[in-house]
């Protein structure tokens, strides 16, 4: 999976840099689109995945889901932070400012960043155990509800300068661009999936090690 992620990502970036047609309006700076938007969508996917695992935890009570939900939220936060960084760079090249409150998605990611940073504070403040797992899960569920609500709020509070690429009439770009975008998105999702599985395996190993140590000390 790691190899697949690397191959698809490299292919995607090659397509984005060399093959995709130049945007008539924005010129070469538009190419960051192929990085920025897939990262943002991957972050949403990770948050959604984390909330799904949280729901499963509350539903079944199986503690296995706690670690999965936590790791997914962790991934989402990393990709969300990257979204803020790449979005900021894009804003700088397009509009000459590092930050624009008019850009809905960026503002949304700032709110989400604050929200999910608090997730980690909450989690590390709680004593280890099923209580922590449940409270973290409920908080993660609040997160996925907050995403559309905040989006609506920003839309209500907005002034429009963000280029809206995806409208109700489908994506507003040429076929080549869309293909490149899809390759990049697939690569980014694969990358997130690889990181997720790696981190999960590491965390599980950690837990197992701790259990073994404890049983050694007891024995």
């Amino acid at each position: 999976m790691a190899v697949a992620a690397a191959v698809v990502l490299v292919a995607g970036f090659a397509l984005a840099l060399l093959w995709a047609p130049e945007d008539a309006d924005q010129g070469p700076s538009q190419r960051i689109f192929y990085l920025h938007v897939p990262i943002a969508l991957t972050a949403y996917a990770a948050f959604g995945w984390g909330a799904w695992k949280a729901l499963r935890l509350l539903w079944t009570g199986n503690q296995r889901y706690d670690l999965e939900s936590y790791t997914a939220v962790h991934m989402g936060t990393i990709f969300g932070t990257l979204t803020l960084v790449t979005g900021s760079i894009w804003a700088r090249t397009s509009w000459g400012v590092w930050w624009s409150w008019g850009e809905r998605q960026l503002v949304l990611f700032l709110i989400l960043f604050l929200f999910y940073a608090a997730y980690f504070m909450l989690r590390f403040s709680l004593p280890d155990g099923p209580g922590r797992a449940r409270i973290s899960a409920v908080y993660a569920l609040f997160g996925v509800v907050l995403i559309p609500i905040s989006f609506l709020a920003i839309r209500l509070a907005e002034n429009l300068i963000h280029p809206v690429v995806f409208t109700r009439d489908g994506p507003q770009m040429s076929g080549d661009m869309f293909f490149t975008f899809c390759v990049c998105l697939a690569g980014m999702l694969l990358l997130a999936g690889t990181l997720y599985l790696n981190e999960l395996a590491g965390k599980r190993l950690d837990l197992k090690l701790r259990d073994l140590r404890e049983s050694l000390e007891l024995g």
Binding site: L114, L141, F142
Partner: protein, 212 residues
């Protein structure tokens, strides 16, 4: 009907405690007044009237923060929550009781804050009053469950604002929008949507927060 009775009993307990100890409400009242005065000096002399509306909403948000922060801390410290969880009541009733009690405190603080605001700054419109009423429900619904989460941890008072502020930002948008926009209906509808969605979510998930 036993559910409603449980909720009333739980809310009544909090209100009685407040009447005897008088801890939260005086603090909230003084805080909201002090904040409004502080904002008077934070605004430059030539700031527009509209800016002060935003400050009213920040004052309301922070007052709610102050009032709700400690909502579940006595419950944890005095181990009341253990008793409540063991009691034969639906656990969401604990949440609803707390929402009713904090809502009463917040409304009482605003009964003072809104006239004070119209005295110091500009007249409060009916749409602002409606928005405040709707916002209170959302703030207390979300605040009560987050306060229960924060009280379970070590950081407690420190943790609650960090959890609460990102979730209450949409309320700020709706409230300010309703106050300054020519078409407040959209913003009021948004606040009602927020209340509905988060109240249902908090009501359904509260049980998991308090179960040990």
């Amino acid at each position: 009907m036993t559910y409603a009775r449980d909720v009333v009993a739980l809310a009544r307990k909090d209100l009685l405690l407040e009447l005897r100890a008088r801890e939260t409400l005086p603090a909230m009242l003084l805080f909201v007044l002090a904040t409004l005065v502080a904002f008077r000096f934070a605004l430059p002399a030539d700031a527009s009237e509209r800016a002060s509306v935003g400050l009213l909403w920040v004052a309301i948000l922070f007052t709610a923060l102050l009032g709700i922060t400690r909502a579940f801390i006595p419950e944890r410290e005095q181990r009341v929550l253990d008793g409540l969880v063991l009691a034969p009541v639906d656990r969401s009733a604990i949440w609803l009781g707390k929402v009713v009690a904090t809502l009463a405190f917040l409304a009482a603080a605003e009964v003072v804050a809104l006239p004070a605001f119209s005295l110091f700054f500009e007249r409060v419109t009916w749409s602002t009053v409606a928005a405040v009423a709707l916002a209170d429900v959302g703030l207390c619904a979300v605040g009560a469950i987050l306060a229960a989460m924060a009280a379970a941890g070590r950081a407690r008072e420190l943790l609650f604002p960090v959890l609460f502020l990102p979730l209450s930002l949409p309320i700020l948008v709706g409230g300010v929008g309703a106050a300054v926009s020519d078409d407040p209906g959209r913003y009021l509808a948004f606040l009602a949507l927020y209340d509905g969605v988060f109240a249902i979510l908090a009501w359904a998930s509260f049980e998991y927060v308090v179960t040990e």
